[in-house]
């Protein structure tokens, strides 16, 4: 199940990371090179520290996406209660069984979690660089 979730979220994570790296102004890296830094040093001392917020924001969004994942999970891992049941699958199950109250409760939790995830990623992505 984790593999299914990982696979579905991975492209989004890679995309966010790549965008974060690209948003580091190239001048910083260029000047670091003129100051004698090799590529590895440029990456770890300049690119990564300036991009980490963007990467973390991307990871949070990837998590939010995984939260909503339904199709891949149910196909790959089934829906064994207590073992491979995710929030989305549980909601589905409750609705199927007519247990609306439980479904709504889990829905509330999902919405709150998603909201929290997006809010955190916005904080990370929008906070001005020091």
């Amino acid at each position: 199940m984790l593999i299914a979730l990982g696979v579905m979220s991975f492209p989004l994570l890679v995309l966010s990371a790549r965008i974060a790296f690209e948003q580091v102004h190239p001048r910083f890296e260029q000047i670091a090179r003129t100051l004698g830094a090799g590529e590895a040093r440029v990456f770890f001392t300049i690119t990564l520290p300036l991009a980490w917020r963007g990467i973390l924001g991307g990871m949070t969004l990837a998590f939010a996406r995984a939260l909503g994942e339904f199709g891949a999970t149910i196909m790959v891992a089934g829906n064994i209660p207590g073992q491979t049941s995710t929030l989305s699958l549980s909601i589905f199950q409750h609705v199927q069984l007519g247990q609306d109250a439980q479904a709504y409760r889990l829905l509330g939790v999902s919405v709150a979690l998603a909201f929290l995830a997006v809010w955190i990623s916005e904080c990370l992505l929008l906070r001005p660089r020091r």
């Binding site: 260029q30 670091a32 090179r33 003129t34 100051l35 300036l50 660089r129 020091r130």
Partner: protein
């Protein structure tokens, strides 16, 4: 110093940089309007851009030789670069910025020692501060010091006084003169300000749309204002 810029060719968006000169003055100005290709020329010399063709040699070292496939990477060119926007690393303190390119204090010698450079540029009290807390003039001096602390053989300055008002420019020019006279470093000074050229430079290359259109000594008499250029 002897800087050979032979058969330099770099196509840009609107025109091509075509330069073929040999420079021997201590401070050479590259003077021209925005978009003339001055920054790109500095980037080529620093090894930050790959030319279509070029032969670049500093003293006895060949740095770029496209025909032979030689392109020495920027970190091995021993050049100090002060870019237009200074590019002070925002996540590092002033001191960390200054020491970023520093290899070893003992190899630097007394002229390029940390103490001497920070003294000449009067930035000793700034060491612990964050880069974002500095004033415009302080940032300029820190960027200059950071380049000097690598003990470079050539200093490349891209419009160092561009974003400063007249009062601040007047304050920084003496520092540049001090750097010129104390460290005796060869300098390539890009600017579109005539006064800076006259105050700091020995020779001036006028650059327009990628080409050197004029070359003369940087004195008011040898380099008169001909038309309303800027």
């Amino acid at each position: 110093m002897n800087l050979l810029l032979k058969n330099i060719s770099l196509p840009l968006a609107d025109f091509s940089i075509e330069v073929d000169v040999e420079l021997q003055s201590q401070v050479t100005a590259v003077f021209g309007p925005s978009g003339a290709g001055k920054t790109s020329l500095l980037d080529l010399i620093a090894g930050l851009r790959r030319p279509a063709s070029a032969f670049i040699q500093l003293d006895n070292r060949v740095l770029t030789h496209t025909a032979a496939g030689t392109l020495v990477p920027p970190r091995l060119r021993e050049m100090g670069y002060v870019p237009q926007d200074l590019a002070l690393f925002p996540h590092l303190s002033v001191r960390q910025n200054l020491l970023y390119g520093r290899k070893s204090e003992s190899r630097a010698g007394p002229l390029f020692s940390f103490g001497h450079i920070t003294e000449v540029l009067e930035i000793q009290p700034l060491a612990r501060r964050r880069v974002t807390d500095l004033s415009g003039g302080e940032r300029q001096r820190v960027a200059l010091a950071r380049a000097l602390l690598t003990s470079p053989r050539l200093l490349l300055l891209d419009e160092p006084l561009r974003s400063l008002d007249e009062a601040l420019k007047a304050k920084i020019v003496p520092y540049l003169q001090r750097v010129r006279d104390e460290f005796k470093l060869p300098m390539l000074y890009v600017t579109h300000d005539r006064q800076e050229v006259l105050a700091l430079c020995d020779e001036v290359l006028e650059m327009r749309r990628g080409r050197i259109t004029k070359r003369t000594r940087a004195t008011a008499r040898d380099w008169p204002i001909i038309n309303n250029e800027l």
